[in-house]
């Protein structure tokens, strides 16, 4: 038998949805028993919400829910949606900068989750990686097809947010190693890798955005990625 953990998850979106979070999740199949309970904290307290999300041992919870989705369990699908959609939507919105396209990307990702949950292979990566990849690839496809020229959501300037991003990353158990290794990269390489990931920019778009020749952008990123891999494997 494993230990019992008590995780407080505040309402993730509309108040009505908190009822789903209030349910007690008893994963008897996994080693630990997680009790998921909502606090009375109102939505719209992003810092607290984020902190609570970070404390959640998501890989276990997401994988357990995913395997129940493969068996056609709609309640598990709803729980997985409530837990993961804010993360997927944030990633998709950042890339597309258009709420409608971001919503499409998240919708399409979850449709795939429901239809192909049985294809998830825990040996190849975590459930979190799979879900975020689905939404991210979809957002990239949508934005490449529709173009990014429509003015969308304003995003903060790069220089202001990078320390915040690294700090957020390092607070996450699964992101800590990556955060440390990014922190060790030279500033130019780190900026390129993070901007490429968060904003989903191509080589050509990065070259324009940073006013740096295309060849330089490509080789800096490759070197940054190689350094990153070495650091992560060390």
């Amino acid at each position: 038998m494993g230990q019992a953990g008590r995780i407080v998850v505040p309402p993730l979106q509309a108040p009505g949805i908190s009822a789903f979070c209030r349910a007690t999740l008893d994963f008897s199949a996994s080693r630990a028993i997680y009790v998921v309970k909502t606090s009375g904290r109102p939505p719209g307290a992003p810092e607290h919400q984020e902190a609570a999300l970070n404390e959640t041992p998501m890989p276990v919870a997401w994988e357990a829910l995913l395997s129940r989705c493969a068996g056609g369990d709609k309640a598990a699908f709803r729980q997985l949606y409530d837990l993961s959609a804010p993360r997927l939507y944030a990633v998709a919105l950042r890339i597309t900068r258009q709420p409608g396209l971001a919503a499409d990307a998240v919708h399409d990702a979850f449709l795939q989750v429901w239809q192909h949950a049985d294809r998830f292979d825990a040996d190849r990566g975590s459930a979190e990686t799979w879900l975020i990849s689905l939404a991210r690839y979809r957002a990239l496809d949508l934005i490449r097809r529709q173009g990014r020229e429509i003015a969308g959501v304003e995003m903060p300037e790069r220089a202001d947010e990078e320390p915040d991003q690294l700090e957020r990353l390092m607070r996450q158990r699964e992101g800590a190693a990556l955060g440390r290794c990014l922190d060790r990269l030279e500033a130019d390489k780190r900026q390129l890798v993070m901007l490429a990931f968060t904003d989903g920019l191509t080589h050509a778009e990065l070259s324009t955005r940073l006013k740096t020749p295309l060849g330089t952008v490509k080789s800096w990123i490759r070197r940054g990625l190689q350094d990153l891999r070495r650091c992560l494997e060390a």
């Binding site: 993730l12 979106q13 939505p43 992003p46 919400q49 970070n54 056609g72 709609k74 699908f77 709803r78 959609a85 804010p86 993360r87 997927l88 939507y89 944030a90 990633v91 919105l93 950042r94 258009q98 409608g100 396209l101 919503a103 998240v106 919708h107 979850f110 449709l111 429901w114 190849r124 990566g125 975590s126 975020i132 990849s133 991210r136 690839y137 990239l140 490449r144 529709q146 429509i150 991003q165 690294l166 957020r168 990353l169 699964e174 992101g175 990556l178 890798v193 993070m194 490429a196 990931f197 968060t198 989903g200 920019l201 191509t202 080589h203 050509a204 990065l206 990123i221 490759r222 891999r229």
Partner: protein, 230 residues
């Protein structure tokens, strides 16, 4: 390490980051099925890089995403679907049935009669039809819990990069209220507390993602009025 596997590894990383052009991305995807080393490298880079998603603060997703999923999965899975009892029967879903119906009035009458016969719990319904043309496009019905369920009946073409948005205009009101963007397939469940009687439903052509202003900006292509069916 020789240059070749290194190049494959870097291509995998660039694909995962999204750095490649659409043509290069397609090339990687075509190669995926027949190159296990590339598939493996991509999986490894996904595992390495996806934690970066945590660098972006979570955002509350619009409720419409779940409404669409619920409507679509409900249509697919009749055993547990909340709107299953209300979905059109196979005869109604055959395009030919609706193409054969030449007048919107006939469609409305047939539809309301069917509704009345088979779903006594439904109180209000509307056939949303093109403002110019006969074929029915959507069926809107109220559920016992008050939600409005909109189900696709016929074919609804929309230009690329545009969306169709559903609006409700209460009797006596001057400004319509958005009920959301209609999905290309499946239905939409609107948990709205609306005055039902004589509620006008309209579908306008809007930019992708819906009207940016909260009011219709494009032409109204489809319309219908909720009518009491019992």
């Amino acid at each position: 390490m020789s240059a070749e596997p290194d190049d494959l590894d870097m291509r995998a990383a660039e694909y995962v980051l999204g750095l490649l052009s659409p043509a290069e991305t397609d090339a990687v995807r075509r190669e995926l099925g027949r190159n296990p080393a590339l598939t493996q490298a991509i999986a490894e880079w996904e595992a390495r890089l996806m934690p970066l998603a945590a660098a972006v603060p979570s955002e509350t997703p619009p409720g419409l995403i779940w409404q669409r999923l619920e409507a679509e999965l409900g249509v697919r899975d009749s055993a547990q679907a909340s709107i299953a009892p209300l979905r059109p029967r196979p005869m109604l879903r055959r395009v030919g049935f609706w193409q054969g119906t030449t007048a919107a009035a006939a469609a409305l009458a047939a539809c309301l009669a069917l509704l009345w016969l088979r779903t006594p719990a439904v109180h209000y319904a509307a056939v949303i039809a093109p403002t110019q043309g006969p074929a029915a496009a959507w069926l809107a019905e109220t559920r016992p819990d008050g939600a409005l369920v909109v189900t696709v009946l016929g074919q609804t073409a929309r230009p690329a990069g545009k969306d169709l948005e559903l609006w409700a205009l209460a009797a006596g009101a001057t400004r319509p209220v958005s009920l959301g963007v209609l999905p290309a397939s499946g239905g939409l469940v609107v948990a709205a507390n609306l005055p039902r009687d004589r509620l006008q439903l309209m579908v306008s052509l809007e930019p992708a993602g819906g009207s940016p202003s909260g009011q219709p900006t494009g032409p109204v292509l489809y319309a219908g009025t909720l009518t009491r069916t019992e």
